[in-house]
Subunit: 299 residues, 2 copies
């Protein structure tokens, strides 16, 4: 029992509101507003942003303007790492054609039920497709994050065995991913589980970058971030204003709010490079985007 | 970096809703309702309950019925440890006269500003008075908890130096207290601070029982409990339904909700002896007590 915890001096936050957040809304946020949100995030010191998704507009009409958004933010590319979500080869071709995205995120779910629901493929089929995309992207000089959804708990299958998530992590690592993110997509992971899984990932692949993506459905996102830091994780996804819900539980809190994470970290002396008080203004701006049809006076 | 955290197998929760929770309301909850709340808490497996407060009804009219409440619950005394809050000799005389309370909690604040505001005394004056009460109570065969309010952060003075809280802890220990509770009265403590302070307490006084009392104003109560457990703490205060506010910030969340704590602990395999699903019904009951003047249909 040491009076000092294993905590990092510095943490990198990946802002997911422009993609994960706005995708959860039932309406289309205008392209200029999306760009304005990203500009504000850049201006307060955010260094990595999931800017949009290259998924068919048929499935995600909210982000049908991916190319325009990226074109609008490219001038910040030297300041910030922008990431685009890609689910299949077709999406990757859009990224390649656009030529402006330097990092993609690929997603597989750790459970067959969720993976089938999301992609109509088995986990094995998804991984074959994704590892092919990893190799192409790496050859094209693009950074790749492999994200494992429901890495801890599945809404249908319950707790995911550690070995299953570790196997998928291994496949992403071997295919050449630069980073692996483990996502508690439904906000049901417990901090001991988070600590144990990340500790094992760090033991087996000490050189791979790892990231945690936590939802706040059970108000445990901050605790999970705290536990993950103790296991050596220094990169976390978050969403300003807590934008984004949970695709499995209507009305449940979604992504952990960036301002909550920055507050906790900065109060513990952990640097994020983000200006907290100005971030609060961005949170207001982001929340306004998600209630555009409600007159301010009635809120 | 070990894949196993230092977590206990069992945690004792001290339910503070009948005192800390109901005291925060602006009206008087009828005695029979208070007794009904305590009975329901007993029935779901709660083993320690702060039942009421022996403070002047002039200051806390909400708990003017302390004697009646205690008389109404005495039949559960073999199942549950009931605690009464005492702030001065006069309050202690009421406890002694009643002859039914086996445990008292005494409170001092770690900052001069808050202690003066609460008791119109300096911290030193409070401690002299309280340590005298500890000795009397111990001679009377009554268990004593010494609680240190704003043990981490003061709303006026900011972060409390570790040594100040440690000194007060030492005074309580030396006077004969059975347990020392450190309270984050305003919900501003950070988990690294919580870990460090409790680790030092446990190092210096390995044989004294320690407890953590966390508020959720910054949504960090669960993280702080998680951090405190890693420092060896196995007893936490909580309040069903999150009853109770913050005396310094109107509208801010107060005590961490018992059901949130039980959920996190039970999901990590840590036993509390409390039935979670039945506890949710008690939370509903408790919340109904605090909105008695609002017709249910309008909520």
């Amino acid at each position: 029992m040491s009076p000092h915890l294993n905590l990092p001096n510095r943490v990198t936050l990946v802002e997911v509101s422009p993609r994960d957040g706005l995708q959860s809304e039932s309406y289309f946020v205008p392209t200029d507003k999306k760009i304005a949100l990203i500009e504000r995030l850049v201006s307060v010191g955010v260094k990595r942003i999931e800017a949009t998704s290259f998924v068919s507009p048929k499935w995600v009409p909210q982000l049908a303007d991916a190319e325009q958004v990226v074109a609008g933010i490219t001038r910040y590319s030297d300041l910030v790492g922008f990431q685009g979500l890609v689910l299949n080869q077709k999406g990757y071709e859009r990224v390649r054609h656009l030529g402006l995205i330097r990092e993609i995120a690929l997603v597989v779910a750790a459970s067959e039920s969720v993976n089938h629901r999301n992609s109509n493929m088995t986990v094995g089929e998804s991984m074959s497709q994704l590892t092919r995309i990893v190799r192409t992207a790496k050859a094209d000089g693009i950074r790749v994050r492999g994200t494992i959804g429901v890495a801890f708990v599945c809404p249908y299958e319950g707790r995911i065995p550690l070995e299953r998530t570790l196997n998928l992590t291994g496949m992403f690592v071997e295919s050449g991913c630069d980073e692996v993110a483990l996502a508690d997509t439904i906000g049901q992971a417990m901090p001991d589980h988070v600590y144990e899984l990340f500790s094992r990932v760090r033991e087996r692949w000490p050189d791979i970058a790892v990231a945690g993506h936590f939802h706040d459905a059970r108000q445990l996102a901050l605790t999970n971030i705290f536990a993950a830091m103790q296991a050596g994780v220094g990169t976390f996804d978050c969403s300003v204003g807590g934008l984004g819900g949970c695709q499995f539980t209507k009305g449940a809190p979604g992504n952990v709010a960036t301002e909550q994470v920055v507050y906790m970290l900065s109060e513990m002396g952990i640097d994020t490079g983000i200006n907290y008080s100005r971030l609060l203004d961005v949170a207001e701006f982001a929340l306004d985007l998600t209630r555009p049809r409600i007159p301010r006076s009635s809120i």
